[in-house]
Every structure is written in C-alpha cells, then in structure tokens.
Point group: C2
Chain length 230, copies 2
Amino acid sequence: MSPYTYEYARAALAVDCVVFGLDETDLKVLLIQRRIPPFQHAWALPGGFVRLDETLDEAARRELAEEAGVTDVYLEQLYSFSSLDRDPRERVVTVAYYALAKLSDHRIRAATDAMGVGWFGLDDLPKLAFDHAHIVATAHDRLRGKVRYAPIGFELLPPRFSLTQLQRLYELVLGTDLDKRNFRKKILSLDLLVETDEVETGVRHRAARLYRFDRRKYERLAKQGFELSI
Amino acid sequence: MSPYTYEYARAALAVDCVVFGLDETDLKVLLIQRRIPPFQHAWALPGGFVRLDETLDEAARRELAEEAGVTDVYLEQLYSFSSLDRDPRERVVTVAYYALAKLSDHRIRAATDAMGVGWFGLDDLPKLAFDHAHIVATAHDRLRGKVRYAPIGFELLPPRFSLTQLQRLYELVLGTDLDKRNFRKKILSLDLLVETDEVETGVRHRAARLYRFDRRKYERLAKQGFELSI
DNA sequence: CCAAAAGTGTTCGCGGTACACCCATGC
DNA sequence: GCATGGGTGTACCGCGAACACTTTTGG
C-alpha cells in the first residue's frame, strides 16, 4: 500500500483536453460527465493523471482514447494551470491540451455517442467542474488566434469540403462575418487548396464544388518563408 | 525522513526560466552555472522545484530571485517539457517560462554580476545542461512570434529609448534588417509612443530623441479591437 | 572639418475591402 | 417555377516596400 515516498511533497500532475468539433452550425466542445467525486455528475474535460512512463502528450492521447474514445486528432499543448485550490482534494497541477476533431469522421461520432459523453456548443456549455470553464476559454482564445496564421482549421473539416464550409469554420472560430467573394479570392490565392472533381451531395440546391487542403504545398511554401494569414 | 507518501508514483515538477536581455549589440540569455550534479559546472537555466504552496508563476519568480537576483521582469509561461529522460536522476516535468529583463536597470545588472551568473549571446551559448538548449530555442521562437503582435519588446528597453534602439531590438529579435524610414513611419503611426523632451547623452554624434511607450494608449486601442502588427 | 548617426518624403504596386447579380439544382 | 445557396468581377484606397540625402553634434 502507498509505496511511493519522496523527500519533499509533490503535487499531482494531470492533463486535461479541450476537444473542438465543428458541426453544421456550431463550434462544439466534447465533455464527459464525472462519475465520481469531486464534482460528481458535473460535466468536465476529459483528462486524468500523468503516469511516470509517459510524456504529457502521450498522457493526453491516452486519456482522450480511454475516456472519450477519441483518437487520431490534431493535438497541441495549451497551458499549465496551477492555482492552489483548483482541485478540492489536494494540489493538482494540470497541463491543458486542445484537440481538433473531425466530426465528419464516423469513428469519432460513434465513440462519442456513449453515455456520459457529449458535445456542447461553445456558447451553451453546462456548468463545468474544477477550473475547466477557464481552460475552455483559454483554448478558444488560442484557437481563434492560431487559426489565422496556421493551417489548422482543416483539422475540423472532412478531407473534402466546400468553400462555404471553410468560410463558416472561420466565421465560427473568429466570431465575425466574412465576405464570400473576398474570402474565396483570398483563400484560393494562397494556393493551398486543390479543386477535386467531386461536389456536395444530398443538398436540394446547386451542389458546391469540393476542395482538399494540400499539405505538401503548404510545407513547400512555409519553407520558403511564406506567411499564411487569413 | 522522507515523509511524503502517495498511492501512485509522482513526477517531480520544476520550473525553468529563459531570461532575455538586450545590450548594445546582442540579444542575451541569462544562465547560471550549476554547483551540484547532475551537470555539475555546466551552464543551465535558472529554475528549480515547485513547492506545494505556490503556483507555477510564483515558483518561477521565486527561483529567478533566489538563483539570479532577478526581480520585476515581464514573465510569461512558455511550454511544459516532459521527455522521460530529460533529467538523469528521475522523472522531472518542467514548466518553462520566459522573461524579458531591462539590462538598463542597474539592479538587474548588479544582481547578475555574481559569480556563476552570466549573460550569453543567443548565438554564442555554451553547452547547456538537461534539455535547456531546446527550451531556449523554443523561447526564442515564441519571442520572435509574439514581439510582432504584442507590445512586449518595450520590456527589454529602458523606459526612455530612441527609435534606433527600438529598431535594433526588432532586428535582433526577428533576425532581419529593417528599413529605417519605413520602421519609423510605421511605429509612429501606431500612436503608441510619446515623444519626450529628452535626448540621448554621452554619444559623440547627433543625439537621438527619446520616446516612451504609452501603455494607456495601447490598452485603449486594444480594447477597440485595434491590432498591432509590426 | 570630419566622423557618425539622426532625421526626413515620395513613388509604386499589391492586397484588402466594399459591393450585387445571375446560375444551377432539387423539389 | 420557386426556393436555396453557389459562384463570380471590379473599382478604390491604404499600406508596405524601395530608395538617398541633409542635418546635427562631439571631438
């Protein structure tokens, strides 16, 4: 029992993940309902304690898989939170991550269909456990800032998407309206998208052309000192 | 002895600080020489273990004061590093910070005049302990990125500075040359600087006008959705 | 008077912004 | 044929980039 002994007191170290997903109308966050105290039954970010044989990134991916069934997402470290009283049990420092999941991916949809896992609109979050509301706000700030100069928005879209979908993504993340013609001109002039020969299906109006993001092109341009800015 | 016992193994939690300073010709980093193993006698970032009664920010400031005599600096959390083997003794996760110090501040100069504390040019660093070279590189990247859209460069300059000093700051941080006329036009058009009635002294050529950064003006503009970009 | 850096304006071209109508499709 | 969103072009303006000479000062 309790065999781990140290000369000085140690904080517990945890990771928590803000997983963003984009549906037809909203930018959403994945939450799980806690089964045990503290904050039993409250909604919280997926996360948990870091093991000694894994890095923080590995811990974040493991918790995402275990607690929410989420795998193969874009994942990036966000910030470390360390208020003395952020966990009522004892001193816990958490390293927060944010992830971008493709809600179009059926594996993600299926996995997060479980009891106690839910997607909530960013403006419609339930009361969250711990300081998780603060972490979500920080993640949204980071996403809003980063989406403008790094090609990460595509991580929220299906592999093939219409320009209208892409524009809606930016509008939702940035919280502003964008002009359709100017947006298209700008995004196409960056020469990062490739037109496919597919079009939207299942819509009862003219079907939109689908594009895909060409990571090769992006990396080639980035290497030349090209600066993305949307 | 060794009275702290836990049910699960815990990593030790540390903070490390990359302190930047600007002198007449270089962007420098503050290092301290280790007195004890591991990496005895090697140069390293100031830092140390986090206590249970302090936040990460507090730990960073405490270590800066204790190990390097540095106080009253701009301080910002950088990133958390967690490779399994980054410390040969045991598992240590470190939360890195970066700080911007005014080398013009005599208190800073005096404190860092001690044995075993030194300022090193970014391109002229000694071999560093642990993964500290990697941390310094990450901090430089962050500074390079952030200085362009946030008014943090001023934290490296004296309260009153010439436009040439400011330009040299940007050139050193960004690693590029800037056009004098364009730089002045741009920076003055932002309406963040106030001309003072002082001029440089002790130079044997025409003395430059000194300016100061007006934080009030910046905050007022920032609140209006103004976007800095240099 | 000489060395050194301060200070100053104009031109050009690109990219951002504002703005409205016709087209294709499914029902 | 109608509702719905897809798709397209132009004019204007402001900002970034390129570029060189005169002024001031101390020694």
